[in-house]
């Protein structure tokens, strides 16, 4: 017995996205139209936590952010593999649990390695 579905079943999601986007657009446009506008030079400067802004934002910055991002991608891929497993969880039984735990165990080793190396320490 196979699962059946067609692209039409995604229609509610499209509606939800239209509503979400529409809410954002309508709110932004309406606040621009309704609210009063007083433009002074002080108001139009870039706001940086009340401190005068220095330089620009286009600076090369630390590799640590990149490392966190790349680890996030790897664990994201792991979660993606868990999705078809979770949907079929009952059909697979214990064999499926063992298969998945081998997969997750390998990645857990990687996670322990990352923690031991202190890759996520921020100093």
């Amino acid at each position: 017995m196979e699962a059946q579905s067609t692209p039409v079943n995604y229609l509610p999601i499209i509606f939800q996205m239209i509503v979400a986007l529409g809410f954002v657009v309508v709110t932004m446009v309406v606040t621009h139209l309704v609210g009063p506008k007083r433009k002074t030079s002080d108001k139009l400067i870039p706001f940086e936590s009340g401190i005068e802004s220095i330089g620009n934002a286009r600076q090369p910055f630390s590799i640590k952010y990149f490392l966190v991002a790349i680890l996030f991608v790897l664990f994201d891929v792991e979660v993606i593999f868990m999705y078809p497993w979770a949907v079929n969880f009952r059909d697979f039984g214990w064999a499926g649990v063992i298969e998945m735990f081998i997969f997750m165990g390998t990645l857990l080793l990687g996670f322990i390695y990352v923690l031991k190396k202190g890759a996520l320490d921020w100093e």
């Binding site: 090369p60 790349i70 891929v77 949907v87 990645l107 390695y113 990352v114 190396k117």
Partner: protein, 164 residues
Amino acid sequence: MSQSLFYLIAFLSIFFSLMVIFTKNPVHSVLYLIITFFTFTIHYILLNAQFLAIVNFIVYMGAIMVLFLFVLMLLNLNKDTEPAKSNLLKMAGVVAGMCLLVTLVGSVKALNVSNPVVLTNPGLGLVKNLGKVLFNEFLLPFEISSLLLLSAMVGAVLLAKKEA
């Protein structure tokens, strides 16, 4: 209805991919790339490949784009530090581009129109059916992919940490 929707989405994908190339600001071009990936997600749903659609949405639109943005931030994007390209380099670029164009045109000309592939089982791309195949026939490649992810993790840490 489905066909006109396909043409609309295909037009949007091509339009936004061209915007990725033609915008001057690299950050804008990454944002256009996100929209391009989103149109690809809709393509996958139209093809009834729902698992691929979800993977595309979560991994590509979510994670890979964050990575792209971080790569951009590692670069120095200030305009004044951009080195001017020499004329020789520009000529080399033109020659290389022309070679690519000739190859592409030649290969397109050599193409034959094949019969359209008809999917015997339209439910093939659904998450449940795909999971059954993945955890039975393709179990070994799946487990080996965990080693691939592990090596990627170790490699990233080794490259990024100074005292390896």
